[in-house]
C-alpha cells in the first residue's frame, strides 16, 4: 500500500469501516511510514477532541413538546376510510398539498421549491437525464408534471405546484374491499391490457364463485368490460363472471343480449348464447335469438339459435 492510498484509508480505518484484509495492509504500511502515522494520530486526535466536547441532546421538555405538536397535527388530518385512501394513493401529490396543515405545507413547498430549482439547475448544467431531478426533492415516486409556478413578489421565493406519480403496491385477499376497488380500476386499464385482463378474470372468478358479487360495482365493471374492452379474451372472462346473474338481473341479461347481437367475436357470441339458456323463454331473448338465427355471420351460432328457438315452447 502506498502513501496516497493509505491516507485515504486511514479515516475509514479509524471508524472501523475498513475490510480486514485492507486493515492488515494498512497496519503494515503504518509500521514503516512516519507521515502516515502522523495522519493516523491526527484522525484519532480529532475523534478524541470531538468526544471531549459536550454533545447536544434534546431535553425531555423538547421531546414532550415535539410529541404534543405532532399529535395535534395528526388530529387535524382527516381520517380516511379505505376507499378514500385508495383514491388518495392515485392522486397523492395533489391531495397531499390540499390536506396538509398550512404551516407544514408552506414549509414543505418552499423547501421543495428551492430544492427543485437547485436540482433542476444542476441537472441542466451537467446534462443529466430528468430522472436525476426527483433525487433533489424528498419524497417517493417521480414528478409527473408541474401545474403552476407562482413567484412571491420582490423575493427569491417561488411556490411550485406539482403532481407526483407514485407507484404503490398492496396485497390482500380477493374479499378485501380495497383490493376489489383496485381491481375495478384495473379492469378499465387502457394502458396495460394484461392488467385489464387479469383484473377482469379475478373479478369474474369472484362472481362465478358467488363471493360477495351482489353489489353493483362489480357487476357493472364486468358489464363495462363486456361492452367496451377491445380484447375478446377479456370480454369472454366478463361473460363467465356474469353467468350466475343472468336470470335474476335484467341489466346483466340485457348486457349479454347486446353482446350476442353486436360482439364482433364469434366465441364471445356463442358463449353469450349459452349464458342465455336459463332464460330462453324471456321475450327479449326470443326476439334477439330470432334476429341472430337469420343474420349472424357465424353458421354455428345461427344453428344453435335455431335449436333453442325450436325447443322453446313459445317458439313460432
Amino acid at each position: 500500500m502506498d502513501c496516497e492510498l493509505a491516507q485515504q484509508k486511514i479515516a475509514l480505518f479509524a471508524y472501523g469501516e475498513l475490510p480486514d484484509d485492507q486493515c492488515h495492509l494498512l497496519e503494515g504500511h503504518l509500521a514503516t511510514c512516519k507521515r502516515c502515522q502522523e495522519e493516523f494520530s491526527a484522525v484519532q486526535a480529532l475523534q478524541q477532541a470531538m468526544a471531549l466536547a459536550p454533545t447536544l441532546e434534546p431535553s425531555a421538555n423538547l421531546l414532550a413538546q415535539a410529541r404534543l405538536r405532532l399529535e395535534e397535527a395528526l388530529d387535524t388530518m382527516p381520517r380516511s376510510g379505505w376507499l378514500m385512501r385508495v383514491q388518495q394513493s392515485m392522486f397523492r401529490g395533489v391531495a397531499m398539498l390540499g390536506r396538509a396543515p398550512v404551516a407544514a405545507s408552506a414549509l414543505l413547498v418552499l423547501g421543495l421549491a428551492s430544492g427543485s430549482w437547485a436540482g433542476y439547475q444542476s441537472a441542466l448544467r451537467s446534462h443529466r437525464p430528468p430522472a436525476e431531478l426527483p433525487a433533489a426533492i424528498a419524497g417517493p415516486g417521480t414528478i409527473a408534471n408541474v401545474s403552476s409556478i407562482v413567484r412571491e413578489p420582490n423575493t427569491e421565493n417561488v411556490e411550485v405546484h406539482f403532481n407526483r406519480l407514485v407507484p404503490e403496491t398492496t396485497q390482500g385477499s380477493l374479499d378485501d374491499p380495497q383490493i376489489r376497488e383496485l381491481l375495478l380500476v384495473g379492469a378499465q386499464s387502457q394502458v396495460n391490457p394484461g392488467v385489464a385482463q387479469n383484473s377482469v378474470s379475478l373479478l369474474a372468478g369472484e362472481c362465478e364463485a358467488g363471493h360477495q358479487c351482489s353489489d353493483g360495482p362489480l357487476r357493472n365493471a364486468l358489464l363495462v368490460a363486456l361492452r367496451y374492452d377491445k380484447n375478446a379474451g377479456v370480454r369472454l372472462q366478463a361473460l363467465k363472471g356474469l353467468k350466475p346473474y343472468v336470470a335474476e338481473d335484467m341489466r346483466v341479461r340485457d348486457g349479454v343480449l347486446e353482446a350476442l347481437m353486436n360482439d364482433e367475436d364469434a366465441t364471445v357470441r356463442s358463449h353469450a348464447i349459452e349464458l342465455l339458456q336459463p332464460v330462453e323463454a324471456d321475450s327479449s331473448v326470443q326476439e334477439v335469438l330470432h334476429t341472430v338465427a337469420s343474420e349472424d355471420d357465424n353458421p354455428h351460432i345461427r344453428t344453435v339459435s335455431h335449436e333453442i328457438l325450436d325447443e322453446s315452447p313459445q317458439s313460432q
Partner: protein, 230 residues
C-alpha cells in the same frame, strides 16, 4: 396492541480502531411502564396496522423513533425550533406516505431517509442564505449554553476545564458548519450515531463508496479546521 410502554435499548459493539466515544442509543417512552421486547416481527405488525389506518399503531412507531430523529435534527440545525419543525415534518410525511413503504428496507432506514432529506434541505437553505451557526439557539432564539446538559457539580469542580470544553464545543460547531451539507450529514451519522457507511449510503440514496469518500473529505476538512487542537 399497547401504544405506550416501549422501551428499547441498543448498544453498538466497539470495533477495533473505532471512535473512543461509543454512541449510546436509548429510547424510552414517556410513561415508563413495563417494557416490551421490540422485535422485527412486532414492528412489521405495527407497520401493517398503521398502513391500514390505525393511528394507535402509527403512534407506537413514532415513539420508537422520535427521540433519535429529534436528536439528529437538533444536532444538525443547532436550533430547537428548527429541530421541532423537522421532527414534525418528518413524521407527518411518514404518516402520509406510509402506504408506500414496501418493506424493501428497514423502517429505521426509511424514516431516517425522510429526516436526513429534510435536514439536508435545511442545511442547504441555510448555506444559500449564508448563515453560519457556530452557536446553538434554543426555542426562544436565545443562545443555548452547551454546558446546560452537564451537572452544576461538575462544572463547579473544575470551571477552567469546563470553559475549555465550551470553547472547544464552539470551535467544533464552527468547523462542522464549514462542511457541505452532505459531508456534515455523513459525518454526523457516522461519528455521532455510529451507523455503518453502507446504511448511511442507503439513507442518503447513494452508494457506500460515495459515502466513504464523503467521510474522508469531511474528516480532512475538520482536521484542517481544528488543526491547533491536540
Amino acid at each position: 396492541m399497547t401504544t405506550d410502554a416501549l422501551r428499547f435499548t441498543s448498544h453498538r459493539p466497539m470495533k477495533a480502531g473505532s471512535s473512543a466515544w461509543a454512541p449510546q442509543r436509548t429510547i424510552q417512552s414517556s410513561s415508563g411502564m413495563a417494557s416490551e421486547a421490540w422485535g422485527r416481527a412486532t414492528e412489521t405488525e405495527l407497520i401493517r396496522e398503521a398502513q391500514k389506518g390505525s393511528r394507535t399503531a402509527f403512534e407506537a412507531l413514532v415513539r420508537q423513533y422520535d427521540q433519535p430523529v429529534l436528536r439528529l435534527a437538533l444536532r444538525l440545525t443547532g436550533s430547537e425550533q428548527d429541530a421541532q419543525d423537522i421532527h414534525q415534518e418528518a413524521f407527518l410525511k411518514a404518516y402520509r406516505y406510509l402506504a408506500n413503504f414496501r418493506f424493501e428496507c428497514s423502517f429505521y432506514t426509511w424514516i431516517y431517509r425522510i429526516v436526513t432529506n429534510l435536514c439536508l434541505d435545511h442545511l442547504r437553505r441555510r448555506k444559500s442564505r449564508r448563515e453560519e451557526q457556530s452557536v446553538v439557539v434554543d426555542s426562544s432564539g436565545g443562545e443555548m449554553d452547551l454546558l446546560s446538559n452537564i451537572s452544576d457539580e461538575r462544572a463547579m469542580a473544575n470551571p477552567e476545564r469546563e470553559l475549555e470544553r465550551k470553547l472547544l464545543g464552539e470551535r467544533i460547531q464552527e468547523a462542522l458548519g464549514r462542511l457541505t451539507p452532505r459531508e456534515r450529514m455523513v459525518f454526523e451519522l457516522k461519528h455521532y450515531q455510529g451507523l455503518r457507511l453502507r446504511t448511511i449510503g442507503e439513507m442518503l440514496n447513494t452508494t457506500e463508496e460515495t459515502a466513504k469518500n464523503t467521510l474522508f473529505r469531511a474528516t480532512r476538512k475538520l482536521r484542517t479546521n481544528l488543526a491547533t487542537l491536540r
